[in-house]
Symmetry: C2
Subunit: 147 residues, 2 copies
Amino acid sequence: MEQKFRCDCPITTALDVLGDKWMLVIVKQMLIDGKRTFKDFRESDEAVSSNILSTKLKLLEKVGILFKSKLPNNKKTVLYNLTERGLALTPVVVELAVWSYENMREFNSILRKGDELSLMKSDKAAFAEALVQKYKEEQAKILSQGS
Amino acid sequence: MEQKFRCDCPITTALDVLGDKWMLVIVKQMLIDGKRTFKDFRESDEAVSSNILSTKLKLLEKVGILFKSKLPNNKKTVLYNLTERGLALTPVVVELAVWSYENMREFNSILRKGDELSLMKSDKAAFAEALVQKYKEEQAKILSQGS
DNA sequence: ATTATTACTTTCAATATGGAACCAAAAATA
DNA sequence: TATTTTTGGTTCCATATTGAAAGTAATAAT
């Protein structure tokens, strides 16, 4: 599964890597939903099947969006962590959320109500930055403790 | 090909519709590359094959991202136009471009140089709005003339 | 010592993608 | 007017991707 690029356009290039139903969903699950382990992803609302999850996690690692780690006292559980490159996707994710809240409600009847929409819209960059900060704090907490 | 949604998350919902290799590329071709006709898309750098193009254009129309029109003096050529909903994807496209310029160069050796990157980054909202304005001006020009 | 959990891989069916050829209507050209 | 070309598709078929289910090996908990 080596990557092929269609042309020199940055947008097309991004979509050559991220353009599917799972890549950005996994990033979002890590960034927003606090998912960190294979099991977490499997048990998410979106319920990825494990073969696909495995494939996508490998690709995300390969392009430097996430890296794997382990806790010192546990040899079994693998932690998946966003890199700075992965965290740099936060603005994309935020823009998708804004667009979706404002345009997808008529199609997805179970779309949750957008409580954070006005906050998000009032300062998208600040909202994105707050998400990143929250992620990093959680990350620090997990790495500092041992379990 | 009716739409199914995985859960109530807005990001996942957006990707249920847009999450593939073509949907956002077609939007970008219209918004930035001035593509308007079936032929235009076929002859683009990305060279979509016509069966897929046909399928995706129908889906984009169905979710209200584009609409079809014709010029008064030409019964053959079909024009594909972005709606306000489609134009509202501009910030997503801009964020993808920024991320890509800054993170994909090591993977896509033919990625073009990001001359507009610093301009884009300095004020993303303004950059997006300028793209939308330019599109609308072109649109007005085409609709006003007859050919 | 036994059971459960975690992180996968394998298998196989269903669906999506993609290239190529084909086609009908309209437009351009001779 | 007759012929050719262009445009906007559709159809066919091969290949690739997705996805559900079951299986497995190592570790951890009981």
